[in-house]
């Protein structure tokens, strides 16, 4: 069985999704049984879950995000042409 400290360490410092299955099992078990960790770690997991969904939708959201300024685009375009010519030439 894991201690509270180990559980919060796992949630804060490691990547929950990448934990080995057995460790993840004990982690979940602890969170289910422990009065102290339960609420807090559920909140942590909820946010992680929400952010995972958000990232899956980002491509879609990106279409409505701010666009690059036209002047800056022109400047960048010239810079890229110069840079790639430098490289090939």
């Amino acid at each position: 069985m894991l201690t509270c400290k180990q559980v919060s360490n796992a949630l804060s410092k490691e990547d929950y999704e990448k934990l080995p299955p057995l460790r993840r099992f004990f982690l979940k078990l602890h969170v289910k049984l422990c009065v102290f960790c339960g609420k807090f770690n559920r909140q942590v997991m909820e946010t992680q879950d929400m952010c995972r969904c958000y990232r899956e939708r980002e491509e879609e959201l990106n279409e409505e995000r701010p666009k690059l300024d036209e002047d800056k685009k022109e400047e960048l375009r010239k810079l890229l042409i110069a840079q790639s010519q430098d490289k090939t030439g």
Partner: protein, 198 residues
Amino acid sequence: MSKSKQEPKVPITPPEQWVQQYGDYLYGFAMSRLRNPEAASDCVQDTFLAGIKALERFDGSRDIKFWLRGIMRNKIVDQIRKSVKENQVDIEKEDEALLESFWFKYSGIATTNPDPWEFNPRKFYDNGEFWKVFEHCIDQVKNPARQAFVLRVLEDQTTEEVCKVMDINPNYLWVLLHRARGQLKTLLEQNWLNSDDK
């Protein structure tokens, strides 16, 4: 034999067309992470320049758009590092008390009694409008908690890396993430419950 190995599986867009094709795409991502137009366009520029340099190593296994997005991950980290250097992260009084408390030291738990949600966010995961509000809320989380959250949660940096970039210790990172989660929840409750799209 090795020739077919080197043949890219997807066509490579020449750098001259990158701005036209990926400029807005990358800028949108950079803005969502950095919130600052100047830093975001610097970030796009750095990404393109790094892309030209590394183009020989592009293996064509995925669209160049996503390859550039991968490069931009590092550039976002660089921009945050720069901004942290200009505006050093100090531990706030309230956070210091939490870090020093017996309970936090013993258990690593910031609070055992977080307020319950005023609504169940899961119900709205399929609603596109919810995610727009969500993004708007992330924008409003205060630095440095926001920066910690962006690096650790949205850009998938390891704890060690985030601590190095922000020049803080892992315990304080944990407190900052806790602050970010709390603010995000409050903001979501305010913004989503008052929105007409739910």
